[in-house]
Amino acid sequence: MSEEKDVIRTGAALVRCDNDRWLTPKDLTAPLVICVHGFTSHGRYMIDLAQYIEGYGFIAALFHYDSYLGIDQASAVLLDRLQPLISNITHRSFVLIGHSMGGLVARAFARSVQSPLREALKGIALLGTPNRGTLGKKKLVSYMLDWGDWLTGPNPYARSPIRSKSAKQLTLNDTEQFIESLNRADQKAPLGMQMHLLSISGGRAFLESGKYSESSYSGIFRNTMLQRLIGEKPNDGLVAESSADITRVIGKSNKFIQHNNKYADYPRTNHTYLIRNQSVANVIVSWLQKVIPPPQV
């Protein structure tokens, strides 16, 4: 990523995963899968998953966006970037895959999107999404930001008390109570009645945030603090199972609304590796093939 491609400077972009070019109608030759990254991250960190999905006959796109401007803002920007593509998308349908906060962006998008895109949206996959926020603990957001800085490069603006609307939303400290409202709406009228919802969690309660996280004083100390802040197990090092499991959050589990923590690598998969683990990718591909069957590869 050069300065010219830095989302802080360029603003959000919806790009094709195989060439990082802005998505155009010409690209939409199969059902579309849009990968939505998490807080302080960047779309390119989902590229392994996106390219794997493309190998199964889907068109995969990455949504790069300024993650600290708000969950609602991100979903509105995603809708804006899809506007020129509406006729092509509705012809073939699409799915959103959100990692961490990206899952909340996807859920907010599904709640706000209007016809005909609404009917074309067939499903949402949530990977390690904090569907219950971060339990109001401000420090947990600091740790999320540390993790994001380590993963994608330092972004001090995400820590601004006045600019980072997402931090307030994720810690449930926003006056609009955005996440609670989203959960109440989904409990009342689940999206799963019209589309599929899949949540996937990780079971390794350790998060990397530096070079030697697993063996150094600093890494072990940070994780000791993090585990105390999360306060329950299992968790993926950042998000508790009870928050990642959408069926527990909205209180429903059926053929449309499912949670998966039974994949082979669950015990070794933490928040970071949910988007880099082939066992998880296989769960997603299998789900996609049911939700939006692609043309035969």
Binding site: M1, D6, S142, D146, G153, Y212, F221
Partner: protein, 218 residues
């Protein structure tokens, strides 16, 4: 032989100055002497400690046995000091920022080193000590900002290893002083440090900070 003559024999050594007093058993006298000796040692220790404290007032140096879990709302005092070798600082932070080195052009404070002494304890004990604490530091010497702009300031941190991270900090003014409150004391630990968990020693935690103003387009 002469030396032997000068050596106190046990009977002389046991002379306690109690001769002539009402009869006291040797065991009682011995116990009393032991108590006096211990009291003298304790007073000496206190005096030495007081002298050390007067010479080097501690920033925050609780002993391991004083560490209590969950001291909610308590701050950890830290010092902000001038950085020697600003060229090296700018080289290192530019390198650490990588593709975001353009942020160097956005700095609005002088860089400064935040340093805090933390107790020499295990990982678990340090977590007990720091849990739900914040770091408070006077940075008046490095900030020249209008009060209404303080909420616009965010921080980058450069660690000894060269790692660069955003630092969650809030600046406010108290009297004539600018204070920064670092929300998460974990920020004092170098995330890329190689220090092993069982190799901790008397630790001084430090991170170099510099403030940026959030640009209007963000």
């Amino acid at each position: 032989m002469a030396q032997q003559q000068n050596v106190l024999v046990p009977t002389e050594a046991l002379s306690t100055g109690s001769e002539g007093l009402p009869s006291t058993s040797a065991a009682e006298l011995s116990a009393a002497i032991q108590m006096l000796t211990q009291a003298t040692q304790a007073l000496t220790t206190v005096a030495t400690e007081m002298g050390r404290v007067i010479q080097n007032p501690p920033l925050n140096l609780p002993k391991a046995e004083e560490v209590k879990p969950r001291q909610i709302g308590v701050t950890v005092a830290a010092q902000a000091v001038k950085i020697d070798g600003l060229d090296k600082f700018f080289d290192m932070i530019s390198k650490g920022l990588g593709e975001r080195a353009w942020m160097v052009g956005e700095f609005v404070t002088s860089p400064f080193l935040v340093r805090a002494d933390l107790p020499r304890v295990s990982v678990t004990e340090l977590a007990d000590y720091l849990f739900e604490k914040e770091v408070l530091c006077d940075i008046s010497a490095f900030v020249n900002t209008r009060v209404e702009e303080l909420s616009e300031i965010v921080f980058l941190g450069l660690y000894p290893s060269g790692a660069v991270r955003g630092i969650t900090g809030f600046v406010h003014k108290e009297g004539n002083n600018f204070l920064v409150r670092l929300e998460d004391p974990t920020c004092l630990l170098d995330p890329d440090s190689l220090m092993l968990p069982d190799a901790f020693r008397e630790l001084t935690y430090e991170v170099s900070l510099v403030g940026l103003k959030v640009p209007s387009y963000v």
